[in-house]
Symmetry: C2
Subunit: 398 residues, 2 copies
């Protein structure tokens, strides 16, 4: 099969117009936003033109289905609150181009997907998590975003288009092409990374509830300051993690909300996100232990209450040997040795899809390793090389 | 003169309807909000009925002016984002009642004021700061609230009513009645506190700017995490303050905003409020030193940038001996010894007004010391006792 780089790049830039941030190539297209729903409608049109059967599932994940058994390619088209133009979008448009090229070449049959809410407005890879069966739609509907909107409310905007969940049995496997989102390919000068496994992730919200009071008349020793509890917790886990983590382990407090969030008031409540990632499921569990105990210890010492939100998580997942082998052979044939095996520190929809079928992933470089930011970018020559490696692997598998 | 407790309490409860939170007696009436502007319009009507000349100054501070020379009483009617029903409102309505009673008794002449933005949507006691001349209107107009609205934009909502600034030379002095907002009167069972001096305050916003990146693919040792910088700063000042502060000194980080504030993104920017208070101006300056150096040290060690917003501040202020003496004599005559001398840990408009005339303050108890919260309250019998002590002092001064 022969992919068409111009057609591929043209579609990739067209998708970028939905939710364009006006800052570089940046994107503001969170799940279920107007821009996200409009982007999916445009994608659906392109899928139809490519001869695929358009289908939205109840979560709003968009499929372009080939007739009969097929291999599934794709990623997601929702973005972070401030996201890059390639994160997810690249895998969806590359899938579309390979599906078109395969059809023009008379096979193999390729289906395409853009999962909904990979970026976790309501959790973590929410659309593919529900599709995988790890979380029921009923449970997922109770999840809220940071402003208190429930998933049930958000997906009403797509309810008219939604059909049933797609039966995964029709797919022989899933391959997701993605930007690396880290520094390794860029620093090494490689153009393709074939993923060995995806690290696991845990994510929850934690709340310290203390006592809201006047910031002038409440002596320091009588305060139950929820921000100070957060500060103590943050320092305590860093200390206690020392004997648990590896240099590859990461943890992040990326969201903080104080209440009432005013200069002259001792904050009575602090709600924050706690996310941690590692390739070893046992280590993830030991970290959870440290986190829960540290939060309890801080709350007890400072006479505050602590509550934990529901924990969302994805287990570490090894890539399928056969699909990965096809990607390796294709990369070897097309990149003059400028490719490498690597783990994925970012999680991906492929983690969930692995519940139902063999999965594999390939990466292209992120310039300076920057991602989840407007500045995210990749050289067009690398985008095209990744597309060609993906197409070569599909030929080998088909 | 004879104050009318029923008329006083009726007006106090009527004012509470503007911005009623629906939670207990709580209030949501920040400066320049619809509720604040409506409350001032209602107050203006009551001032007029009391025979006072209604006047708004360019900041939106509302005066009810007696003819000729007079003593000024009052406080503020704006509230914290989540405020109590008495904070400020008590002093305004008590002033109104004393003005009415004095008029009915044939003197002395009493004017009334409700200053604008005492609670610091745009800084600290903004309305009386500008009136005092410590900050020009032009400079003040550049101040922004936490959502980026400038004071210039906010005060447009009151521009049609605004006249010139009131000449302070017409006032012989200023007395502000207020709730204590701390635990001391309530714990001691006293009903009135006569203030000796008001602590000074410093307030500024600080921003750490690091590097926004992916929370899965960025190793811990390569991160420039702005929230972690805030955590380190918070711990470092607590340590360095140990040799500087007294048990009466307080400091607060009450507002925190991360950017982009998402679970899966290493925060690239953290903006937060830093406020500190003490009765000693030299100590306030030494604390500022610690704060600026600690922020620089943290930024340097972690390779982030730090920037400091404009610093707003009020110097510690001693109360006027004569006015304070009148309050003491009145309290002694009316409370059967259940009153005390005390400093004010909270700042008040009186601090600014002291630039132009003698000032004094009296406190009534806050139940459980709670303030800047919906739960804030005071027994009605104590509210009335405070009113009577205030009226008695005005008689003595007049």
């Amino acid at each position: 099969m022969k992919v068409n780089p111009a057609r591929f790049l043209s579609d990739l830039h067209a998708l970028r117009q939905f939710g364009a941030s006006g800052v570089g190539k940046g994107i503001v297209r969170p799940a279920y936003s107007e821009a996200d729903v409009a982007a999916r409608a445009w994608l659906a049109g392109r899928f139809k033109e490519a001869g695929l059967n358009v289908h939205y599932d109840p979560m709003g994940s968009l499929f372009g289905l080939a007739d009969g058994p097929s291999i599934l390619l794709g990623s997601h088209s929702d973005s972070q609150p401030e996201g890059g133009w390639l994160d997810g979008a690249l895998g969806v448009i590359a899938a579309l181009e390979v599906a078109r090229a395969a059809k023009e070449a008379g096979g193999p049959a390729v289906s395409v997907v853009s999962f909904q809410d990979e970026e976790g407005r309501f959790g973590v890879t929410t659309g593919s998590t529900v599709w995988s069966g790890a979380l029921s739609l009923e449970e997922a509907d109770k999840l809220t975003d940071r402003t208190g909107v429930t998933l049930a409310q958000a997906r009403e905007s797509m309810a008219l288009m939604a059909g049933d969940f797609v039966d995964p049995a029709q797919f022989s496997g899933f391959i997701e092409m993605h930007i690396e989102q880290g520094p390794w390919l860029d620093q090494a000068g490689d153009v393709v990374g074939v993923v060995t496994d995806i690290v696991g992730i845990r994510d929850m919200r934690i709340t310290f509830e203390g006592e809201q009071n006047h910031a002038g008349t409440t002596p320091m020793h009588l305060r139950k300051d929820a921000f100070q509890a957060l500060g103590a917790f943050n320092a305590l886990i860093a200390e206690r993690f020392q004997n648990v983590v590896t240099p590859q382990t990461v943890w992040t407090i990326g969201h903080v909300k104080l209440h009432p969030d005013a200069h002259s008031i001792v904050p009575g409540r602090a709600t924050f996100s706690m996310q941690w990632r590692d390739g070893d499921a046992n280590r993830l569990a030991r970290m959870e232990d440290v986190i829960r105990r540290a939060a309890h210890d801080v709350a007890e010492a400072r006479e505050l209450e602590v509550t934990f939100g529901p924990m969302l998580g994805l287990e570490p997942v090894a890539m399928d040997a056969k699909s990965r082998g096809a990607l390796e052979a294709s990369a070897q044939a097309l990149t003059e040795g400028r490719w490498r095996l690597m783990p994925s520190g970012a999680l991906h929809d492929a983690t969930n899809v692995a519940q139902h079928m063999p999965v594999a992933m390939l990466f292209v470089p992120s310039i300076n390793g920057i991602s989840h930011a407007f500045e995210e970018d990749t050289l067009e020559v690398d985008l095209v090389k990744g597309l060609e490696v993906l197409a070569g692997a599909i030929e080998r598998l088909g």
